[in-house]
Amino acid sequence: MAREVSKGRKAAVTLLAWGVALLIFFPILWTFLTSFKTEGEAINSHPSFLFFDWTLENYETVNQRSDYLAHFWNSVVISLGSTVLGLIIAVPAAWSMAFVPGKRTKDLLMWMLSTKMLPAVGVLVPLYLLARDTGLLDTKTGLVIVLTLVNLPIIVWMLYTYFKEIPGEILEAARMDGATLSSEILYVLTPMAVPGIASTLLLNVILAWNESFWTLNLTAANAAPLTAFIASYSSPEGLFYAKLSAASTMAIAPIMILGWFSQKQLVRGLTFGAVK
């Protein structure tokens, strides 16, 4: 595609796009900047954008007070663990729905999605009791299981829509050549589905990382991820904007950086079958 575009138009578009983008990004930028201010400066009634005394004291305070690395590690294990486990369960299911569809496949898919609508607050007590009786309270294993189940419908659906776009003839050709079912999945389907799987993985890591109901309610000291870390900086006594900003920056930075770097992969598979 080679559309001729005038320099002037391109400049105008660039200006507009940058303006809008910065506006959308601004709250995050502001949080980042505030994290380097003193508490007094953070609530200054004439806020300063860049020209203030930059300080690292908030980060020092936060590091002194909480074991950031432990929370970070918990977040990593829980979000990756639940995503990988989810993929392991979802890939065969999605394969079967896409290539051996039955009469009820559509209904099944929709039913799966509807389980996602179970309001978490309503089932907290039953789940808490279950977790207590199985010894899974405050364990990463428990959270991995719960988050896997919570996100499984989305994973299945994303994979399903992705698999469906893979032409069945290719599989059939492989089968003609005598490929078994497992080698068909491993050597023919999987390579073709890598972009879809990658973006499913990314999206679910993001969702699991930011999940803040179960992660907060089923953990105490051992398995608490970054969502619990944040809860110890929200509205304490006294001034807290700067410390909150520092903690927020630390909580969202890892996932944001991951997201930025893997943007292309994320976008490529994020079609949910919406692209013909």
Binding site: I88, K140, L181, S182, N217, A220, P236
Partner: protein, 440 residues
């Protein structure tokens, strides 16, 4: 026909990697992210120096999150925590359920008799302490001496609500960003309702009569709400309906409030020059009374350490609880961070310490307020409940918050005082009926 699908092995490996074990006695302490608790957390190494065999895990959360987590856990016997930080609202209710371990024999140097009687009384069930106070607070009036002088007024010994209205009007200078009075407006049983319940007590009102009938249709609540709304709408800061303790603290510290009636612990924050821009211009007075009345409606709140009955590490937990509320801990804080930062409101000896009285100009007023708080008989009227700024029944959290929503809406201007009172009356009656009151 077999389907080989191997990655499952990977999953079990992944699961096996999670979780670890430890041989040392590890106790998990759940606490609020308030300044004094964060200091306690920071001083953990000092505790470990004395008790190297006890490892302390901290769960520090924002108050509402903490309360929800801890209540869920103790009520369902989840057993995730060995030490809980809870308020004096929960202690008697939970103790009666047998959820808390009675605390006795806290050590020879603990000096239990030194605990301030009103505070200790609130934690005693069947003659035994079921929690020990970490810090305690009552309510008082804090004001800007410079603004009051500029307004040509002098703070009386026992200000009444008429004086407050007059002073608020004269101190307000909206052009300069100064609001005569800041009060809690954020909905919540521990936020606006703590203040309004106290204020209503000072007006001679009560939540319930002896038959547990809600009293929102009575003249006292009407007077309370009308006075509150007229003060806040004319002289209060913008956004008051979402201001709680923290928001008001920030406002006062940055010089935007003339007067503020709130928890006594705020006194140390607003007179700390490191945090407050008005540290050298603050004065303290008792919480206002109604004209001719004597009830200040002082509230009493304490944050306490308690041990759930389900813990398997009772001894270690008790050792920790005793350490954190002992005279020795106060001495430790005084040495490390200065005596002004000692957790206030729990021990008589602190208020007899001349060093403390010297650095804490608010000490005497705090002590007076705590001692004046009468949680056993909060109202001038006979009532079937105890509690100063709350009603010590399990249903109160929910009812208090729902009523708080109504009053917050009246402050935001989305409903009138009469509508809010009628709604409060209706919803409280409904909830009380559902809960089966009057009981017995």
């Amino acid at each position: 026909m077999t389907v080989t699908f191997r990655p499952l092995a990977g999953a079990s490996l992944l699961l096996a990697l999670m979780g670890s074990a430890s041989a040392q006695t590890t106790i998990t302490v759940a606490t609020v992210n308030n300044g004094d608790m964060i200091r306690m957390q920071r001083l953990t190494p000092e505790f470990n120096a004395l008790h190297p065999d006890i490892k302390v895990n901290w769960v520090t959360l924002e108050e509402n999150v903490l309360r929800q987590r801890v209540t869920t856990d103790i009520a369902s016997k989840g057993g995730q925590y060995d030490v809980l930080t809870i308020g004096n609202y929960e202690v008697p209710i939970w103790a009666k359920q047998g959820w808390l371990m009675p605390l006795e024999n806290l050590g020879a140097d603990y000096d239990q008799a030194d605990l301030l009687p009103p505070v200790a009384q609130g934690l005693t069930v069947d003659g035994k302490l079921h929690a020990v106070p970490f810090y305690a607070e009552s309510s008082m009036l804090m004001y800007r001496t410079d603004l009051l002088a500029k307004a040509g007024l002098k703070m009386p010994e026992n200000p009444d609500w008429d004086f407050i209205a007059d002073a608020a009007q004269k101190m307000t200078d909206k052009g300069a960003g100064i609001y005569g009075i800041c009060l809690r407006g954020k909905a919540g049983w521990g936020e606006n309702m703590a203040f309004l319940t106290s204020m209503n007590n000072s007006m001679g009102g009560a939540w319930f009569d002896m038959e547990w009938k809600p009293q929102f249709n009575g003249p006292e609540w009407k007077k309370t709400l009308d006075t509150y709304l007229s003060l806040m709408k004319q002289y209060g800061p913008p956004g008051a309906s979402s201001n709680g303790f923290n928001e008001n603290l920030a406002l006062f510290q940055t010089g935007k409030c003339g007067m503020w009636i709130d928890a006594t612990v705020a006194a140390s924050f607003i007179s700390d020059p490191k945090e407050s821009q008005v540290a050298d211009k603050v004065g303290f007075a008792p919480s206002p009374v109604r004209k001719g009345g004597a009830n200040h409606g002082n509230w009493l709140w304490s944050w306490n350490l308690a041990i759930p009955a389900t813990t398997s590490k009772a001894e270690a937990a008790k050792t920790f609880v005793a350490w954190a509320t002992s005279p020795a801990y106060m001495k430790l804080v005084a040495e490390k961070d200065g005596i002004a930062n000692v957790p206030p409101g729990t021990r008589t000896s602190l208020y007899k310490n001349p060093e403390y009285l010297k650095v804490a100009p608010f000490a005497q007023m705090t002590l007076t307020a705590i001692e004046a708080a009468n949680t056993q008989k909060p109202s001038d009227k006979p009532v079937p409940y105890t509690g100063g700024q709350f009603v010590a029944i399990p249903e109160f959290q929910a009812i208090g918050t729902a009523v708080g929503q109504q009053f917050s809406a009246a402050l935001a201007g989305t409903s009138t005082a009469d509508q809010a009172l009628a709604a409060a009356q209706a919803l409280t009656s409904r909830e009380m009926t559902r809960a089966g009151y009057p009981k017995k």
